[in-house]
């Protein structure tokens, strides 16, 4: 499972109105599946780990989704579930945190395709320097995700949005073999 490391998801940054309600709903659905796994390995940087911990805690306190065999095998790797916290660029518009960089849209499009296909080789070959320039969230996590995904995986959940000029994906994969 992939979610973005959006700090606005954390309760300490809650306002009266949720600025990321759609994203939160998508994360809640996706992570809702994960919480039935016997073990969830989190792949995240320091801030992302806080986001992951909160989403998992929320999901475990709700446990609204019904588990299926398939759900429990959501991620590759001996039945272990993985929650990767990473996102695309943060330079997709003039209002974006990193201001507009014309390269951002193309970079995210290629990354999105590599995630959806999935194409582990393309994902693993992510241009680190460009990713840093474009303020990609946790590119190391995306490379680790490349190591977990195989061509046998099929995308089963896909939320794609960039409401603040930051590319968010909430994605889940299932191994077909």
């Amino acid at each position: 499972m992939l979610v973005p490391g959006v700090l606005a998801l954390l309760p300490e940054y809650a306002g009266l109105v949720d600025p990321v309600a759609e994203l939160r709903a998508a994360c809640s659905t996706a992570v809702g599946w994960l919480c039935w796994a016997p073990e969830v390995t989190v792949i995240a940087d320091e801030q992302g780990a806080r986001v992951a911990a909160h989403l998992l805690e929320q999901a475990r306190s709700l446990r609204v989704t019904c588990p299926s065999e398939a759900d429990l095998r959501l991620m590759a790797g001996e039945g272990a579930a993985h929650l990767v916290v990473a996102n695309g660029t943060a330079r997709r518009s003039e209002k974006a945190p990193g201001y507009l960089d014309e390269r951002a849209a193309g970079f995210d499009a290629a990354l999105g395709t590599a995630l959806r296909t999935p194409d582990p080789a393309a994902l693993g070959g992510l241009d680190e320097e460009l990713a840093a320039d474009l303020l990609v969230g946790n590119p190391a996590g995306l490379r680790e995700l490349a190591g977990l995904l195989t061509v046998e995986h099929r995308l089963v959940f896909d939320h794609d949005d960039d409401p603040f000029g930051v590319q968010y994906w909430v994605m889940g994969w299932q191994c077909e073999s």
Binding site: L7, L16, F164
Partner: protein
């Protein structure tokens, strides 16, 4: 403790805007702008649209002037309360009166709060509040008679006097049967006070908040603001809002105001700075 204002309840961290609606021909700020019933009703509709939780309907201006008897006061207030009650069922209706018979008629017509600006001048007002389940605002006037201006009044400690008198009044209300959750205290800026007194009350408002009773402040466009800034009525909004901010930081809960929108923004801003309210919508730097 939940704040209970007649039919309405509010959480113990809620701040409330009490909009002034004068059914008078001669109040100092609006100078009779809402003397006509239709004008007053339009004012109620406007402040409701602006987000006021409470209207404070008054039939007699605070300053000295033509004597207005209970019958005339009732004719200005009571039917109007009934009309507002039926048109705005979710609105808290407060009536600004010190007279028990007027308070009783207003409660019969649907008032939720009796705002006694004159510090319990009529001792039976608390009994009216108790028998109708209305809330009461207990003010400090230093013992002056209703509708008099302060003249050479001095206090050893004006804040200590305000605390002692409002708390005593509050306890008297409770003893008369008003629930604790329906009692509010108000140091009453400018009532029985010179500008230095009102400034000190503002500076030390936290001492009133510390009593545990919810505190109402009535600062709007008053003379202490005008004298502090040397500005006439009509030019006191900025000063009023500065005083409002200080009282909000100290924890005042109810704000009796002419300008609802501006005061609501100041109170929300200060309440949020104080960590008692989250921002409305925060995304900057958190995307």
């Amino acid at each position: 403790m939940t704040l209970k204002l007649g039919r309405h309840e509010f959480a113990d961290d809620a701040t409330l805007m009490m909009a002034i609606v004068n059914r008078t021909p001669d109040s100092f700020y609006d100078k009779g702008a809402t003397w006509a019933e239709e004008s007053a009703f339009a004012r109620v509709a406007q402040v409701v649209a602006e987000g006021a939780e409470i209207v404070d309907i008054g039939g007699i201006k605070a300053a000295p002037g033509v004597e207005i008897g209970p019958a005339e006061e009732m004719s200005r207030v009571v039917d109007f309360v009934a009309r507002v009650r039926s048109s705005f069922p979710a609105l808290v209706i407060s009536v600004d009166t010190w007279r028990a018979p007027v308070g009783q008629a207003a409660c019969e017509a649907g008032a939720d709060v009796l705002n006694d600006a004159w510090g319990g001048a009529d001792p039976e007002l608390v009994d009216v509040a108790a028998s109708y389940g209305a809330a009461i605002v207990c003010t400090h006037t230093g013992g002056v008679a209703p509708r008099t201006r302060p003249y050479r009044i001095e206090y050893d400690d004006v804040v200590a006097s305000a605390v002692a008198d409002t708390v005593a009044y509050a306890e008297r209300a409770v003893a008369a049967g008003v629930p604790r959750s329906s009692v509010v205290i108000d140091p009453a800026h400018d009532f029985g006070k010179n500008t230095f007194h009102s400034l000190e009350l503002t500076r030390r408002l936290g001492e009133l908040v510390d009593t545990g009773w919810p505190v109402l402040v009535s600062l709007s466009n008053k003379d202490f603001v005008g004298e502090t800034l040397d500005l006439p009525v009509g030019s006191r909004l900025t000063g009023t809002l500065a005083a409002t901010a200080v009282c909000a930081l100290a924890g005042a809960r109810i704000y009796r105001v002419h300008e609802v929108v501006e005061t609501r923004q100041v109170v929300d801003m200060v309440w949020t700075i104080a960590g008692r309210r989250p921002p409305s919508r925060a995304i900057r730097g958190l995307q």
